[in-house]
């Protein structure tokens, strides 16, 4: 239990640190959102200054951070100056979409990586192994950006997949099933893209974890006892190989989130990515801070979850 | 091994103590470990002073404090007329020239990327002595004095044998012309023939330069051969101290007695040595 308490505290502190960091970053930024208004000769200086006061833009940094922190704790994440609406609901929807995308992609990636990784580990002396190795290496080196662009090109040229958005426009009178099908059709490309991008690394790790276990004496002993292959894999190899993989799971969430930003922008998926981009371009402070904080939260929570899983899976940690 | 000390005390230690803080593995509690405490020593110029005891951090820790590599928690160390523990940074920088340490493992004590000449010249370089050319010259001289072939000046430590590496370490230690050499189990990693050669070298250097040796060891046989004075350390304290002859003849402390009893008799040692000597 001490282990968990420590990890949770750690996560909480990390989040506070992140929030402070992103907040401070934006406050140090020269200029602010009202610069645009200032340039407009029709709006008097006094009005702009008044607006500044209203938005609380002329207080000192610690004061503003404190105000923001307390508000955030209550769920009020500020006001989007560009959208003219509270930040909370705005990013809630986008966050949901991002989670749907990343969740699906993670599922896809892992369900492919585990069997493929184990298979290449078991058959590591075959010629298929070399082909797979070359393929994963190549895939690894191709930058995500180019991969997503390539997928977009594919979608556009072949017309097999919708090239953006989450749903088609015609939603009147649609049944739940057709709605779901529509979603899946739109989801496929970005999720597949994200999965492809993550797959090589995951596969490699699964493979090396499996190899390490397969070579272990206790496995060879089990094989010597005549235990059938499948049983061997599931009850002996997998549990031991699972340990480094659970840690990998936490780590892969970070890379997946970064990649999802790019995927969402290029493949036009309405998630946090495009929102962040817009907000950055228009210096919409609170949106940027909230989005960064949110993604960091996903990450930290993801790591915490994998720590929990590790705790549950590995008896050695419980003893400590 | 050398002539009896001339009576002048070169190095004096009063009430020296040091402890470390360690953490228990799982509970992360801190607890204190006393490396040594209440150490009193007086080492005469030109003598070979041995400190013996079972293997443990106490002796090495003391060696490092004496060599000015670590600070003791309490007590004084007097070198000639200066109390080292109260020295300023500048004074300490100068004092380092007087005391040097020879480590047990020569390989670990030498930087594997430096050539032999660079290794020996380094102390002089750090102290800012002489110019580059002169340093090189002196390095070559020192190589000669310790019996290393000059052709190896550009060789890296890994190209030398274990015994040669220890010679290199000794040459390096002599670069600053110290008065005291502290040998922390310096012979323990060498085979018997190498030990013999290094002992001869050390004796030779002592005679020529009037060096004072403080020899730390758990090997009473070696100590028997070279020491003038012997101090026994047990659980961080000195439990016995006397001249060599007196020590072997009439040890007062029970622990010291046990040590001596565990040793093969002097005659056996001498016989072994005679047998190994090349005919």
């Amino acid at each position: 239990m001490k282990f968990l308490a420590r990890r949770t505290l750690h996560a909480a502190l990390l989040l506070v640190g992140v929030s402070f960091f992103s907040f401070a970053l934006l406050q140090w930024a020269p200029g602010d959102f009202l610069d645009e208004l200032r340039l407009n000769p029709q709006i008097s200086k006094q009005t702009v200054e008044a607006l500044r006061g209203e938005y609380g833009l002329n207080e000192s940094l610690p004061v503003r951070y404190e105000r923001w922190l307390f508000a955030a704790a209550k769920g009020d994440l500020g006001f989007s100056l560009a959208y003219k609406s509270p930040v909370g609901p705005l990013i809630a929807v986008r966050a949901r979409n991002t989670l749907v995308l990343t969740g699906t992609a993670m599922l896809l990636a892992w369900t492919l990586a585990i069997p493929l990784g184990i298979w290449t580990a078991v058959n590591r002396r075959g010629w298929t192994n070399r082909i797979f190795g070359a393929a994963t290496s190549t895939l690894l080196t191709i930058p995500d950006l180019l991969l997503f662009l390539g997928l977009l090109l594919l979608a556009v040229r072949t017309g097999w997949f919708p090239a953006g958005g989450m749903f088609s426009d015609a939603t009147d009178g649609a049944t739940f099933l057709s709605h779901a099908k529509d979603l899946l059709a739109h989801l496929f490309l970005p999720a597949a893209g994200l999965a492809i991008v993550s797959l090589p690394v995951l596969m490699r790790h699964v493979r090396s974890a499996a190899i390490e276990v397969l070579d272990a004496p206790f496995v060879r002993a089990a094989r010597g006892h005549g235990i059938p292959r499948w049983r061997l894999l599931f009850r002996y190899v997998l549990p031991v190989a699972a340990n480094p993989l659970i840690s990998l799971f936490g780590f892969s969430i970070a890379t997946m989130l970064s990649a999802s930003l790019l995927a969402e922008v290029i493949l036009s998926w309405p998630g946090l990515g495009p929102l962040l981009l817009e907000a950055t371009l228009s210096r919409d402070i609170y949106v940027v801070v909230a989005t960064v904080l949110l993604s960091a939260t996903f990450l930290v929570v993801g790591n915490l979850v994998s720590d929990l899983l590790l705790y549950a899976a590995d008896p050695r940690i419980r003893v400590e | 091994m050398s002539a009896a000390g001339q009576g002048e005390v070169l190095l004096r230690v009063r009430g020296l103590g040091k402890s470390y803080v360690q953490r228990r593995e799982f509970t992360r509690e801190k607890f204190q470990v006393h490396a040594f405490e209440g150490i009193e020593l007086a080492v005469q110029r030109g003598a070979t002073f041995a400190i013996v005891g079972e293997s443990g951090a106490g002796k090495s820790s003391l060696a490092r404090c004496l060599a000015l590599l670590e600070r003791p928690d309490c007590g004084e160390i007097w070198i000639e007329t200066k109390d080292v523990t109260k020295a300023s940074r500048a004074e300490l920088f100068e004092l380092r020239r007087k005391v040097q340490l020879i480590f047990q493992d020569a390989t670990a004590a030498l930087n594997g990327r430096f050539t032999a000449a660079e290794i020996i010249a380094e102390p002089m370089r750090i102290q800012g002595l002489f110019g580059a050319a002169q340093r090189r010259e002196r390095a070559m001289e020192l190589m000669e004095q310790v019996g290393l072939p000059l052709a190896g000046a550009k060789k890296l430590p890994r190209e030398w044998s274990g015994g040669q590496r220890q010679r290199l370490a000794i040459a390096r230690a002599l670069a600053l012309e110290p008065s005291v050499l502290i040998l922390d189990e310096a012979l323990a990693n060498l085979d018997l023939s190498n030990q013999e050669m290094i002992l001869r070298l050390l004796a030779d250097l002592q005679a020529r330069r009037g060096l004072t040796y403080i020899y730390i060891s758990h090997d009473l046989r070696l100590v028997a051969l070279i020491a003038d004075e012997i101090a026994v350390m047990h659980e961080g304290r000195i439990v016995e101290e006397s001249g060599a002859a007196e020590f072997f003849a009439q040890p007062r402390n029970s622990y010291a007695r046990d040590l001596i009893r565990a040793m093969p008799p002097l005659e056996t040692i001498l016989r072994e040595r005679l047998q190994e000597e090349p005919a």
Binding site: L25, T138, I142, V156, A254, L261, L277, R283, V288 | L92
Partner: protein, 343 residues
């Protein structure tokens, strides 16, 4: 040895690529801002050996394109006049390494002929030329940022490992913060803090600074590990015994142990940072017009109609793939090399 051949091949390729980029002026037939408003989105120029009458010519040639009256998006070649391809032609003036003015280009065709080997963009600018010039910016940004990150990583990791204690704790916790964020999000946040309307040079420097200062945490951790173990060595203690200062110890005894790690880090960071610059510029947060960067070349690909109709705009992306392959192959080979040497 297999590894050596792979490393050699990768390095040769990288050297050639970088040389071409460095001498962009020479290899590119046009300047990066030279527009031809008559020829927006022209397809890659076809090189012919046989003319309309069926006659074969030793010297390859091109035709001039004109808008197809039937299809506004397409072009028709005017086969009446041939424009032969020449080597070492006099073209637009440029400066080698920004200093030596000259006009010689590797290849070109006489006016009004155009040789767009990779086609042209919305303003009729030669994609190949922009690719080469753009490479200068992207490669430079990647390299500078990598150097910055390593400098920061070495300094911070060195201090943390050498002094330990609360400094170490503080710095490593700070590093965790940087590692905890998905790097692209962090990049955005920091970029958002930078003013948007500044001069090109300033944007470039800011870009480099931002990208470079984000990634220090991992190299710092690696260097710290090495420093931690190296500083305990007796050779370091001996040097202390001669009165060596901390700085001297770091410089001559401790940091040299980290050279191997630093080298592998560079080979990994440079392509990563090139990509970061390309991504930022692609999204509109980097260097703007008319300075070309690989990112701006790819930016137009975000538009549906470009992808649908003008497939050649994708070619620059394809050209980048072997570059990254070479970088990672070199990184792999160097790592293998270091493993065997270090032992």
């Amino acid at each position: 040895m297999r590894g050596n051949r792979k490393l050699g091949a990768a390095l040769v390729f990288l050297a050639a690529f970088h040389a071409a980029i460095l001498l962009a002026g020479f290899f590119a037939p046009y300047g990066f801002a030279t527009q031809d408003r008559e020829l927006p989105f022209a397809p890659p120029t076809r090189i012919h050996f046989v003319d309309a009458t069926g006659q074969w010519h030793a010297r390859p040639f091109v035709y001039v394109l004109a808008s197809d009256p039937a299809n506004p998006n397409a072009y028709v070649a005017d086969t009446t006049t041939r424009y032969p391809l020449h080597l070492f032609v006099a073209g637009e003036p440029y400066k080698i390494a920004g200093m030596l003015p000259t006009r010689t280009h590797l290849f070109g065709v006489a006016e009004p002929g155009r040789i767009f080997l990779l086609g042209s963009d919305a303003f009729g600018r030669d994609q190949l030329s922009r690719f080469l010039y753009g490479g200068q910016l992207s490669l430079m940004a990647g390299l500078l940022a990598a150097v910055l990150t390593l400098a920061a990583g070495i300094a911070i990791g060195g201090v943390a490992g050498f002094y330990g204690g609360w400094i170490d704790d503080l710095l490593m916790r700070g590093g965790e913060l940087f590692l905890a964020l998905p790097w692209l999000y962090l990049l955005f946040a920091v970029r958002a803090a930078m003013p948007l309307h500044v001069s090109q040079a300033q944007v470039f420097l800011l870009l480099v600074a931002v990208v470079g200062l984000i990634g220090w945490a991992r190299p710092a951790r690696l260097v710290r590990g090495i420093v931690l173990s190296a500083k305990e060595r007796n050779s370091v203690l001996a040097a202390r015994g001669f009165g060596a200062s901390d700085l001297y110890l770091m410089r001559r005894h401790v940091l040299p142990e980290a050279y191997g790690v630093i080298l592998t880090q560079i080979t990994l960071l440079v392509p990563q940072y090139i990509l970061a610059e390309v991504t930022l510029t692609f999204l509109g947060l980097g260097v703007g017009e008319p300075m070309p960067s690989w990112g701006s070349l790819l930016a137009s690909l975000q538009q549906y109609y470009v992808l649908a109709t003008y497939w050649w705009m994708f070619l620059p992306a394809l050209l980048l793939i072997p570059l990254f392959l070479a970088f990672y192959a070199a990184a792999d080979a160097i790592q293998e090399r270091l493993k065997t040497v270090a032992l």
